[in-house]
């Protein structure tokens, strides 16, 4: 009892902050590189490791998990200690969390360019890394919950609630979505297939955005905004209501990412409905944030920190309004597969996450170094560079989105497509891509200004690794004799959180077993649909590791302008053997679901060797290495076995003669290439890839426009 003296751990916060800045810069740099390749494929430096398909996931992962992730940790570790008036639960855990997380990112930086990917967006990392993520995340959780237990402040400030929610939900999502069966150390097949896989992926995909990019940042906003403005949040009540409303709704909104797909219609409707409902609580947060500054706008004018935060909150407001709009079927029809989505996510990422992070850093660093910000002026410069960057990024994307939509769906009076060649659209929007890249450049340069400013600031001050603090000990909850059971609760809030998590995981796993048994697909099963041949399977894995899904969808929606262009719309039954699904979410290039048999093998061969030889002006990079590199013949038996485990009906013992089977099919393709005067060997990756491409969508091939 009595006053206790203790120290806040600033060191780990410092490290996380530094990591945030470094990874942020790298992630955005990679993004810039990718953006450049969108109009100048040569920018891939002629290397497979820096080609768009492989660095796109690197960009997204680096920005989401490295930049935002570290920022979250920095902010949480800083604010949590002070809100709960205690040091973090355990320094060792803090450091495991830090170094573990950096190692994970490092491994991502290595494996993704090497083409090790599960191809699930924002969950590309392969299974060993997935496990590592789970472990480190749990470590973070334990550290956080431990801190809550030993807190000296009875009340848990609303920010803490946001942190807890984020932790639990992300843990669950990650675990469920990462269910996969390993083939070898760096290869696995998703436990789910086709529609199911898609559903899980976007249930994860949406909630990852919700609980990794949104709720933790709302927590940070509720801490750092009042701090920076030195005035209490506009309405604390509202913030509490805001939290619970958001939490009760968010989890359901996932399916809106799959409108017009083969997902059951009512599930789509459900996704839409809940997304719309989300507007209310989301805006509650925005309003609360902005009103906090009411009557202090003069302050905002000269304080760059507040400027950053205001723009961040506004961007949040825009994004959370745009999101539900996008989940309206009619709007979604336009936006899906186009650059609109890209614009949408970047308003969130650059505006909300980026700017709030910058504001946070500008405020936090001087605090911990016990000094003033080195240069307000530079901070302002950064602010304007960033803001312009966002504008130059978003606007062109909206323009190109509409161009894409208008040109894709345009019919001549005769009822044939106005622009039958997909390329014509691509060429149309190239200028937009250039401007977008420029926007990215501006934003990135702003970040470097910040780096300089912060380093100078740190140099000027002297860092306090352990900040002394004191607070009265928190005495045990005293309560009347009655309601004993509820007194027990008071002592063990955490006990419940943990219990819940375990329950979820068990429940989740338990519930998943039956779906492994695939009885399920019977419903959607189509007789004509057969499993992939070993060679096609191998080709598919090449397709995955090259990241083709980043630019090519495999999901034709039931619109005339799509069936005219690509052929019969996709049926759920066609994907039952797709582990993982490869529907894709963006059409930089044309949809490939019905590409099978559309072109001769030689076309594909030449096209992969040099796309522009087949389609002049194409922005697709060449893949010469596919012609040299051999695919992994020895790996095939295991893949078949795993697939069978997952319910793909390869008859027993099939794996024995898999290699022969594959080679036989390969030889066939080699022959057909020879016919067109192309020399190659059956073991070349290109052969497998061609096999796969030619198979695509042919199972239920019906008479479509193109033949």
């Amino acid at each position: 009892m009595g006053i206790e003296k203790f120290h806040y751990d600033n060191k780990v916060v410092k490290y996380f902050a530094i990591a945030t800045v470094i990874w942020g810069a790298i992630g955005m740099l990679v993004g810039l590189l990718a953006a450049t390749q969108m109009f100048a494929p040569e920018a891939n430096l002629g290397s497979e490791y820096t080609t768009f398909g492989r660095i796109r996931p690197l960009h997204t992962n680096a920005v989401i998990f490295a930049f935002v992730g570290n920022a979250i940790f920095a902010g949480v570790y800083y604010s949590m200690q002070r809100l709960l008036k205690t040091r973090m639960f355990n320094d060792a855990l803090s450091w495991i969390n830090f170094w573990g997380w950096q190692l994970i990112i490092l491994s991502a930086v290595i494996t993704l360019p090497m083409g090790f990917t599960s191809s699930k967006e924002y969950a590309e990392l392969e299974w060993p890394i997935d496990i590592a993520i789970a472990i480190i995340w749990i470590v973070f959780g334990i550290n956080m919950i431990g801190t809550i237990i030993k807190r000296r402040e009875k009340h848990m400030y609303v920010a803490i609630w946001f942190y807890i929610a984020s932790f639990i939900t992300v843990a669950v999502l990650h675990v469920v979505n990462s269910f996969a069966i390993p083939v070898d150390f760096m290869k696995s097949y998703s436990a789910f297939s086709g529609v199911q896989d898609a559903l899980v992926q976007w249930w994860y995909g949406h909630n990852a955005v919700a609980f990794f990019l949104t709720t933790p940042y709302l927590g940070l906003m509720y801490y750092f905004l009042p701090k920076a403005a030195n005035r209490p949040i506009y309405s604390y009540k509202l913030s509490i209501v805001h939290f619970w409303a958001l939490i009760f709704l968010y989890i359901w909104a996932g399916p809106h990412h799959l409108l017009y797909t083969s997902l059951p219609e009512w599930a789509q409707a459900l996704g839409t409905a809940f997304s719309i409902m989300l507007i209310a609580p989301s805006w509650g947060g925005m309003v609360n944030g902005l009103l906090t500054l009411r009557g202090a706008w003069d302050k905002v004018k000269e304080d760059p920190i507040l400027k950053f935060m205001v723009v961040a909150i506004t961007a949040y407001g825009m994004a959370v309004f745009e999101g539900p709009m996008l989940s309206l079927k009619s709007v979604n029809a336009i936006a899906h597969y186009t650059d609109w989505i890209v614009a949408h996510v970047h308003i969130g990422a650059l505006g909300w996450n980026g700017f709030l992070t910058f504001g946070m850093l500008y405020w936090m660093i001087p605090q911990m170094w016990k000094t003033k910000l080195f240069s307000r002026k530079l901070a302002n410069t950064h602010f304007w560079l960033g803001t312009l960057g966002i504008i130059f990024y978003a606007l062109p994307m909206y323009v190109s989105a509409f161009t894409q939509w208008l040109m894709w769906k345009e019919f001549t009076p005769e009822g044939i497509l106005q622009y039958p060649n997909f390329l014509s659209t691509t060429l149309q929007i190239i200028p937009m891509y250039m401007i977008r890249a420029f926007g990215g450049l501006l934003y990135l340069s702003g970040v470097f200004v910040m780096v300089y400013n912060l380093i100078k600031t740190a140099k000027a001050g002297n860092f306090v690794a352990n900040e002394a603090a004191e607070a009265p000990a928190l005495e045990k909850a005293v309560s009347k004799g009655k309601e004993y059971w509820h007194r027990v609760w008071e002592r063990k809030p955490i006990f419940f959180t943990i219990l819940t998590t375990i329950a979820i995981l068990l429940g989740g796993i338990f519930e998943l077993i039956p779906s492994f048994m695939m009885k399920d697909n019977e419903a959607t099963k189509i007789e004509a649909v057969k499993p992939y041949t070993p060679l096609e399977l191998e080709g598919r894995d090449i397709y995955i590791s090259e990241g083709c899904v980043g630019c090519h969808s495999q999901m034709i929606r039931p619109f005339r302008y799509e069936t005219e262009r690509y052929g019969e719309y996709s049926k759920a039954g066609e994907f039952v053997y797709d582990h993982p699904f490869l529907w894709g979410s963006k059409r930089t290039g044309p949809d490939l679901h019905r590409v099978g048999g559309k072109y001769p093998d030689s076309w594909h061969f030449n096209h992969m060797y040099d796309p522009r030889s087949m389609s002049p002006g194409s922005t697709m990079p060449p893949y010469p290495w596919l012609l040299q590199q051999p695919y992994d013949l020895e790996g095939l038996p295991d893949k078949i076995t795993v697939m069978r485990k997952l319910g793909v009906p390869y008859e027993e013992g099939f794996e024995e003669n898999v290699e022969a089977n594959a080679l036989a099919q390969a030889k066939g393709i080699v022959k057909s290439l020879e016919a067109d005067g192309i020399e190659t060997v059956p073991e070349a990756k290109i052969v497998a890839l061609i096999a796969y491409l030619q198979r695509l969508g042919t199972d239920i091939k019906v008479e479509t426009a193109d033949n």
Binding site: F248, W252, W266, V478
Partner: protein
């Protein structure tokens, strides 16, 4: 920040930021308006709590108006323990209500108390409630010392017996209920969405099994926890053969529940759990709103809380503190300056000046001589006195007013709220319709439609819109009013207020100021040098007259004074720059009978310097500003009367507005009550605007008792509403507002009736699927709530806009 201060012409106090106009103390380059503020500053500096001044500008609480209080009654173990929330071997926890809490710096300081005394473990402020919970080691620091410590930094706790009440929020339960209902609403809606959209849910046979089951599960907490209170109140009503709003609501809920279960388990449908939970959810929000409006008003305080909670009893030679209720007639009590007379008693000391201001509203203290009877509720001004108790507090004159049967529960005719009246018939009708349509369908041999018709009728007709109209409108009205400095007891009171057609005024303290008085000087004014001395001298005396005159006199620098004497009830004297100055009664200053003509109902203070009498100050009541306008604007719509306890001296003055026959003077409390009863028998709805406890009988008897006070601390348990004196001129607006607000309620009724009529007409034909019915229902509630809030806000803007906001915070 001190720089900005320096610019100002009049210096502001470093601590409390008030103007240093009466005195000015310099210390360490800072200015202070009074000694008290300087001391507080010192204390904070000593304990390095001076960050206090950086949390906000001059955040301190002024010590100028601070009353000297005696907390010795806390020495009484039994009593001080009764104040504690919790106590064990070494730790005690206590919760204080500290009116002075006003800004973030207060929170900061009060939560740093442990720096002021090692005995304090921790302290926690609730800013809204203005309370602080302190846990302290009682070996190191007694409750008394703790209170003195707080007093020393000008955060004087206001100690009431009811301090202990409500140490957990009364809202927890309803928060839970709303939260759970909302949660279920959201989730069950999720499971029902497919059906709304008429989508292919039932191709998925697993889901078609699981969803209804989950729904059924979700329904349980809603019905058995969140809706509980409705059942209870409905049951209570039924037991007294009454029907209130909660009866139909309960029936609606039960029907929905049972029918849903029937569907879920016998027809493998989804049921209407979402409608059920939605219904409850909206109802609860309405209910919460209603509850919320009550926390402004902590009325109906026990009369005891006006008294010191314990008193000094003289036993033989030594004094001891005893609990109030332990004293009996013939006990000898010692009353100190500013203490309250706990019971009717005989004055033993030669003389006492007693301020009955919150008994009669009379601001000029009454001078009592030895052997006179002095009354409970009076406050002693000046030197301490001894009294002998005649009646123990419970039977005292004030208590008698309370025991007056007219104050007993139910004395005020149990007015039934309009909503309840309506709901009676409403329920009956609805039930009838439901049963009839059910019967008809059975007769037509269509059981299915029968059930549907029955339920949909009850759901659609579920009178939640009705139930919401009153609490939301009037509740919101209450809030608006309280913001405007007019506190109403309950939504019911607002309804009563709107029906008033006749108003009765008390004079003293109602039409006149009870804390201000008019000072007139008769005779020849002394020169400034003398006046300076006089002002200084007045400042030495706690006597209210001295205070009034002191404040009335212009500013003079303080003078040095020698051998100060105060003969209580007589006057004061001292030597100031060589002159002997006497202030007080005529006979005190020059032992002669008065030669200046005596004014009625006014008190006089004479000045005598070196034996020469200059003249006297006349202190006279002042009528509130523009009461003329008040009467004029009221007289058009209301029958006005005046019932005063004092002599008719101001009759002439009041005649210009009130007809003579409507003014009654020298009325005893009993008589006032008689009048009101008489008028009420003549079917008038009477509002009594009075002040002080001796009106309480009348206040209670009237249809709306309005207490006029200068500060909310002066509660008057008898009344239905409290109005700040300075807002009296707003009374006409308030009346208009209340009438308008009530019309709004009616509008709400009409609206929800329309919904019901339309809905019912479809429902009886079984054309309505309960889902639609249940969607329609919350919509109706919502629109009513919308109408209520927006409407009230509009009216507030229309009538109350020119109100000055009440000055809390």
């Amino acid at each position: 920040m001190s720089i900005s201060k320096a610019k100002n012409q009049i210096l502001e106090c470093r601590h409390c930021g008030e103007k240093c106009d009466q005195e000015l103390i310099e210390n360490q380059g800072h200015n202070f308006c009074c000694e008290g503020c300087r001391i507080v500053y010192e204390i904070l500096l000593e304990n390095d709590l001076d960050n206090f001044y950086s949390v906000a500008d001059s955040p301190g609480v002024s010590s100028k108006k601070k009353k000297i209080q005696n907390f010795d009654f806390l020495k009484d173990k039994a009593f001080s323990n009764s104040l504690l929330d919790f106590k064990n071997e070494e730790i005690s926890k206590v919760r204080f209500y500290i009116p002075a809490i006003h800004c973030s710096a207060c929170i900061w300081l009060l939560e740093k108390l442990y720096k002021l005394h090692s005995g304090i473990i921790s302290s926690r402020v609730d800013f809204n409630k203005k309370t602080v919970i302190i846990s302290f080691k009682h070996q190191e620091l007694s409750l008394l010392e703790l209170v003195k410590l707080l007093d020393s930094i000008a955060y004087t706790p206001d100690i009431q017996l009811d301090n202990k009440k409500s140490n957990t929020s009364p809202y927890r339960r309803i928060w839970l209920q709303i939260g759970i209902a909302g949660f279920v609403f959201g989730n069950s809606m999720l499971f029902s969405l497919p059906e709304y959209f008429g989508l292919d849910l039932f191709d998925e046979d697993i889901l078609s099994k699981i969803f209804p089951f989950l729904n059924a599960l979700l329904a349980l907490p809603v019905v058995f926890f969140t809706a509980q209170d409705y059942f209870k109140s409905a049951w209570a009503a039924l037991k007294q053969k009454q029907i209130n709003m909660d009866v139909p609501i309960s029936i609606g809920i039960i029907t929905l529940f049972t029918y849903s279960y029937y569907i879920i388990f016998f027809q493998s449908g989804l049921g209407y759990i979402d409608s059920l939970s939605g219904l409850v959810f909206f109802l609860l929000i309405g209910k919460y709103y209603q509850q919320k409006t009550f926390d402004h008003l902590r009325f109906d305080r026990d009369i005891q809380s006006f008294f010191p909670l314990s008193v000094t009893k003289i036993k033989g030679q030594q004094e001891e503190q005893v609990l109030l209720n332990s004293i009996i007639p013939s006990d000898i009590l010692k009353i100190r300056n500013e203490e309250i007379i706990p019971a009717d008693s005989l004055l033993i000391s030669d003389e006492a000046s007693i301020d009955y201001s919150f008994v009669t509203g009379e601001s000029v203290p009454e001078i009592n001589q030895k052997e006179e009877l002095i009354y409970a509720g009076g406050r002693l001004k000046g030197a301490a006195i001894l009294v002998q108790v005649k009646k123990s507090p419970s039977q005292s004159y004030l208590a008698q007013l309370w025991d007056d049967e007219s104050i007993q529960q139910g004395a005020k005719a149990q007015v039934q709220s309009t909503a309840d009246k309506i709901s009676k018939y409403f329920t009956a009708v609805v039930l009838a319709i439901a049963i009839i349509s059910f019967g008809t369908w059975i007769y037509l041999g269509d059981f299915e439609s029968g059930i549907r018709a029955f339920t949909t009728v009850l759901i659609v007709a579920c009178p939640c819109a009705l139930a919401l109209a009153t609490p939301v409108t009037l509740g919101y009205a209450m809030r608006v009013l309280s913001k405007a400095g007019f506190f109403v007891k309950s939504t019911q009171s607002v309804e009563d207020l709107s029906k008033i057609d006749s108003i009765v005024f008390d004079k003293t303290g109602t039409l006149t100021y009870s804390d201000k008085a008019e000072v007139v000087f008769d005779g020849n004014m002394p020169e400034h040098k003398v006046l300076a001395a006089v002002k200084t001298l007045f400042n030495q005396s706690k006597h209210p007259l001295s205070q009034i005159i002191y404040n009335w006199l212009p500013f003079y620098p303080a003078q040095k004074i020698e051998d100060y004497k105060e003969i209580s009830g007589q006057g004061i004297s001292a030597k100031v720059n060589g002159q002997i100055i006497k202030l007080g009664k005529k006979q005190f200053v020059d032992n002669q009978e008065t030669d200046f003509d005596k004014k009625a109902s006014s008190s006089q203070v004479y000045i005598n310097v070196d034996g020469l009498t200059y003249g006297c100050f006349n202190i006279k009541h002042v009528f509130r500003k523009n009461i003329g306008d008040l009467f004029n604007s009221l007289s058009t719509n209301y029958k006005l009367n005046l019932l005063s306890g004092d002599q008719a001296s101001e009759k002439e003055f009041l005649k210009q507005w009130l007809p003579e026959e409507n003014m009654y003077f020298e009325q005893l409390p009993g008589d006032k009550k008689e009048f009101i009863t008489k008028w009420q028998d003549a079917h008038q709805k009477v509002m009594m605007a009075g002040d002080g406890l001796n009106d309480s009988a009348a206040l209670r008897k009237s249809d709306f008792g309005l207490a006029i006070t200068e500060s909310t601390s002066q509660f008057s348990p008898a009344c239905d509403g409290i109005l700040f004196g300075e807002n009296l001129k707003q009374l006409p607006n308030i009346m208009r507002f209340s009438k308008a607000a009530f019309r709004l309620v009616i509008a709400g009724f009409v609206l929800s009736f329309l919904y019901n009529v339309v809905g019912l007409s479809f429902a009886v034909q079984a054309l309505l699927s309960p889902v639609i019915a249940a969607i329609l229902m919350p919509i109706s509630s919502f629109s009513v709530v919308l109408l209520a809030t927006l409407g009230t806000r509009y009216l507030a803007g229309k009538y109350l806009i020119n109100f000055e906001k009440s000055r809390d915070l």
